[in-house]
């Protein structure tokens, strides 16, 4: 049996790696992928708990997370395409016009 703590540790590791990517990477697509990584970390936690608690609801949550991720990816990538077209840059540091 896989100990729940180990599953969670894996989840945490993936999440923190994703967060690190978000904080340190400048390519907006990479940053986006880091978000997906974090979502997956959370999904893993859901599945782990689902197994641990013998409850299927976690699977449903993962299901919904995946659906939302799909929607998010489609819209997000469309935004990236539009951004790239208008600004000719994929560097997230260049996209800072939303400020005072």
């Amino acid at each position: 049996m896989i100990p729940i703590a180990h599953v969670l540790a894996l989840s945490v590791a993936l999440f923190v790696i994703g967060a690190a990517g978000f904080v340190f990477r400048k390519n907006i697509i990479t940053v986006f992928m880091c978000i997906e990584l974090m979502l997956n970390a959370v999904n893993l936690a859901f599945i782990g708990f689902s197994r641990y608690l013998g409850n299927l609801d976690g699977h449903l949550f993962v299901f919904f997370v995946i659906v939302v991720a799909a929607a998010e990816a489609s819209v997000g990538l469309a935004i990236i395409i539009a951004l790239n077209r208008n600004r000719d840059s994929l560097n997230i540091d260049d996209l800072d016009s939303m400020k005072m």
């Binding site: 904080v23 540091d93 996209l95 400020k99 005072m100």
Partner: protein, 647 residues
Amino acid sequence: METLLILMLLPPLAGAAVNGVLGRRLPQAAISLIGCGAAGFSMLFALLCAWTYSISAAQPAPFIHSYFTWIEAGSLRADYALYYDRLTLVMTVTVTVVAFLIHLYSRGYMQHEGGYYRFFTYLNLFLFMMLTLVTAANYPLMFVGWEGVGLCSYLLIGFYFRRPAAADAGKKAFIVTRIGDAGFAVGVALLFWTFGSLNFQETFGRIIALPAGEMQGTMTAVGLLLFLGAVGKSAQIPLYVWLPDAMEGPTPVSALIHAATMVTAGVYLVARSSPIYSHAPQALQVVAVIGCVTAFFAATIALTQNDLKRMLAYSTISQLGYMFIGCGVGAFAAGIFHLMTHACFKSLLFLAAGSVMHALDGELDMRKMGGLRRKMKTTFLTFFIATLAISGVPGLSGFFSKDEILAGAYEGPLGQPWLYWLGAFTAGLTALYMFRGLFLTFFGKSRLTPDLEHHVHESGSKMTVPLLVLALFSIVAGDVSWPKAFGGSESFDRYLEPVFKPSEDSLRAFAPSAAHGPGSDALMIFALLFAGLGILVAYWFYLRSTRLPALLAERFSLLYNTLLHKYYVDEFYDWLIVRPLRVGSEKLLWQECDVGAIDGVMVNGTAKLVDDAGGFLRRIQSGNIRSYASWVLLGATVWLAYVLWPR
């Protein structure tokens, strides 16, 4: 009965709603049909109400019906309830009849004015509010009507709102009467605080049951506060200044609101609240004194006014003063009687003046008129009848009512001789200025400009028919109450006895030994003498030796100028109240409080604080997503640390 009552109230409201919403798109004919129809139905139902009430078994007792609960807050409960007794009957019939005639008249008068639908909307709304005022069964509802008529008055005075004078007059009327309304509101609050109820029936029943002298202080305070409201609404000293300016409104408005109905609301309020005053003789004396002084004071101003409508306005103030004398001496019925007759002849005077104005293309200066009687026969005739009536010529309505008031001033429960003498003298002045106006306008040689000379014409039947009807009323309205001296029985007095008897009785308890004058016959003769003298003087001055008034004005220039400038009251108020208020507002409130304290410290200070804080915090909002992510991470870390901290 309750159906009839509500049917009396609803047509004007419906008319106002229809005209107000759809009027812009309706043809004039439809608007006037709706407006006059509403007023007509209202009159019809008012008469039906009167008839139904008169033949009902419980007749002298008031009919009260509550339609729904309007306000319920704590122990305060105000229903939408209507109150119908003989006083209400007189008021509703007077109001609806005069209003209907003036609606008819307005069809002609307003024909060529803009905002036809607006005018009828306001007029209908006014009628509804006025009826609410006189039929209300409690003070809050009455206050609604009170404020409603004030609002309509404001709207109608400022009807020609593009003219600064009209707009200013509207504001003036609104603000000045507001002072009185504050008094009314405080008085009502005090009443509620004392009795825990604002229903007429309940409150009055408890007041009447009070032994004489009990709670006199409270009653006096309530009475004075309510009278403050009446002073504002009925244009008495010191709050009369708005009424002359209110003549900026269309003439039918002046006739309806500022002569016949709304301004008499104050009188109605005092009469309706007679049980309160019956326990506050001091307050009542104040009413009488103010009424008497106002009557005299306004009459003297009216002597020198050259503007026809302004003269009539001061005349109205003066006559309202009479009504307050009547109420103030405890002769409430006499006051109401005068209210009724005055509604007839004063509205007639205004409408006739409007007819003149119509003919002369808006000219109102009497010095530029003259000799109109040949060209405007009907107008002249009706104006003449009204003048006779107001001057107190025997046989016409004004004679009876004024005589009754003067008799009351001497012999009433709180009557005092000097009230009578000043009143009688004022009656002479009334005759003088009214005939002056008559002579200047309709007699003598024409002083019109040649342009106008051709323009002069008699008004159409739309306007003259109401004039004639009102003239008829002006003659016969007094006949409902022949004085004892003429072998009559003062039947109007007797008719209203169920309403006022308890109050008058309790007043007599305060002044058991009212002055016993020389008897009503003698009183009447004196008054008649004064009136006759006034007419004669007017005839002498303005028809025979027309240079005399100018000479007199020169000789007594100080007096004349004082009168011409209305005792400089407007200037005085300006100096006493308006100027300090403005300067105070500017210097203290605006520059110090507003700019310095509120703007400087509170508004700008807050803004500056926010601005500074924002200036510091905006570094956080760099627009850089990675920074934001770091902040989120910081938050999460701190929160987790807080959660995990061993406790």
